[in-house]
């Protein structure tokens, strides 16, 4: 069956059997190897991905369930950084019809029919934003700085769980090509006072990510550190 998925800022089309899980699709066809193959029953969280702003297990989600939805994996962090204006595009996209008054579609030509269900299905590529691939997101940097990584198998899942938590709390925006504008998913207002995040909230958010090196203290420290950095930069 044919699927259209907004994967890391790029609209991608796939043709898969009905029983393919999102995990198999991401690793097998989309080259998203940050999504790890773990338990296949939703217990370990190694395959965590963000689907429409919510953190889910890719191993117990059919690829077909992600059709016409937005999926973010760790490979999407350069896109997140680029859309947050942390880096500027290296190559300018040629103007498209409609965007420039000088270039108008030829009225004699029938409009081309698009399968796209997304508002802005423009591709985000390494060629356009090479510098975005050289940067780490503050959450990734915090994991490095606090030595929160041992074997690293659970780390992508933990980072995505943290990003989903931060988006929910309003510390960051998760970009989208489904919506015209980025929508703040959290409730926190800019400049609001009060505790950033409690350790309990972080532990609750990371509870589905099992680390068999059993290193939970450092990841929690890393997320706290990233939260402080993100809130002071706002």
């Amino acid at each position: 069956m044919k699927l259209t998925i907004a994967l890391n800022g790029e609209e991608r089309e796939f043709d898969v059997p009905a029983n393919t899980t999102l995990l198999s699709l991401l690793r097998g066809q989309a080259n998203c190897f940050s999504v790890k193959h773990g338990c296949e029953t939703g217990e370990c969280g190694a395959c965590a991905v963000i689907v429409d702003g919510r953190i889910v297990n890719a191993c117990i989600l059919l690829a077909a369930q992600a059709d016409e939805r937005e999926v973010i994996t760790l490979e999407g962090i350069p896109w997140i950084l680029a859309t947050l204006n942390a880096v500027t595009p290296h190559v300018e996209r040629p103007p498209t019809a409609g965007a420039d008054p000088a270039i108008q579609p030829n009225p004699s030509e029938p409009p081309t029919e698009s399968r796209s269900s997304f508002q802005n299905p423009a591709a985000f590529s390494r060629e356009e934003h090479p510098s975005a691939y050289e940067l780490l997101h503050p959450v990734q940097q915090a994991f490095v700085d606090t030595h929160a990584i041992q074997c690293g198998y659970c780390t992508p899942g933990m980072i995505l769980s943290s990003l989903a938590l931060f988006a929910e709390k309003g510390f960051i925006n998760l970009p989208s090509i489904k919506r015209k504008t980025r929508v703040r998913s959290g409730r926190r207002k800019s400049g609001s006072k009060g505790p950033l995040l409690s350790e309990q909230e972080i532990r609750d958010a990371l509870a589905g990510n099992l680390c068999r090196c059993t290193g939970y203290v450092k990841p929690v420290d890393a997320v706290l550190k990233a939260a402080e950095k993100l809130i002071t930069e706002r």
Binding site: P17, N19, T21, G42, N57, I60, L62, D67, S161
Partner: protein, 292 residues
């Protein structure tokens, strides 16, 4: 992973969903969140009907009742500010307890808990104690509302085993939770080996009192104690007309559950369940007394 799955449908109307389900009721399964179905590796499922596009995600108040759509996720219930204090917060507490993983709670739906995991879910005891009702639509497109205890007593549920395809001939649309009449006290207790594991036994109670603080309506239920979640009629009739005191709680705990055959599984023995249930009941009623 469903090894023999060949067809996936995501209909946009309830009528189309029921048409698809009725066409192949044995080999076709309803897919809501998928946390139970996809983790089960069932070989008999050849078609799935994904009901996520049916607009059954709502959580709303209607005539004093709380209505929860079949595809509302446990996390959405947990985050709903209107439900935080509903029935002394036992519903929200059980949704959180259902899985420590936010990923699972983001996928797992109320409908899935009622239809696929009802025998072992902590939510089952709470729904029985709250006297929940379900709204269904059968293959003839007739809507029907019934008590959840009657729903689970349907022959399809009683005889249904894992791998037997569709559990009942129709579609669950909505769960309706009546608000207990005040003054009331509600509590939920559970026992497990570690926090991330399912409960060995869980219990929930909703006690409604009159102006003299005597118990009028009492509903107490156990989950994971017997083969199916059950109400405790002997205990309920004992509590009716009584004032909740430490002494009456002690007597209630001593009633025992000889009439129910305890479950024996990999989590706990029947003897352990028989021994732990009275302790849970005492804790449960003690918690109700504190909340009164």
């Amino acid at each position: 992973m469903l090894p023999n799955l060949r067809k996936y449908y995501r209909p946009r109307s309830i009528e189309a969903t029921l048409r698809l389900l009725s066409a192949n009721p044995v080999r076709c399964a309803v897919l809501a969140g998928g946390t139970h179905l996809l983790a089960s590796s069932r070989r008999d499922v050849e078609e799935v009907v994904d009901i996520s596009a049916l607009k059954l995600k709502m959580v709303k108040r209607k005539n004093g009742d709380v209505c929860i759509g079949a595809t509302a996720t446990l996390q959405s219930i947990l985050e709903n500010p209107r439900l935080r204090k509903f029935a002394d917060g036992i519903l929200v507490e059980a949704c959180h307890r259902n899985s420590v993983s936010r990923m699972i709670r983001n996928q797992r739906t109320m409908g899935g808990e009622i239809c696929a995991n009802w025998k072992r879910s902590d939510l089952a005891a709470i729904l029985l104690a709250l006297n929940a009702r379900v709204k269904l639509m059968n293959f003839s497109l007739e809507e029907k509302e019934m008590l959840i205890s009657d729903f689970w007593s349907m022959p399809a549920f009683r005889t249904g085993k894992k791998g037997s395809g569709l559990v009942f001939p129709g579609l669950l649309l909505e769960l309706i939770l009546p608000t207990p009449a005040p003054p009331f006290a509600a509590a939920y207790v559970h026992v497990e080996q570690i926090e991330s594991q399912p409960s060995f036994v869980s219990s929930a109670a909703v006690l409604e009192f009159d102006e003299n603080r005597q118990c009028g309506e009492a509903r107490v239920a156990l989950s994971s104690f017997a083969d199916v979640p059950c109400r405790l009629p002997r205990l309920e009739s004992f509590l009716k007309g009584k004032t909740l005191t430490p002494e009456s709680i002690e007597s209630a705990g001593a009633l025992g559950f000889d009439e129910i055959r305890p479950l024996v599984d990999s989590r706990a023995s029947g003897t352990y369940r028989q021994a732990v249930a009275p302790v849970l009941i005492r804790r449960l009623l003690g918690r109700c007394l504190k909340r009164l």
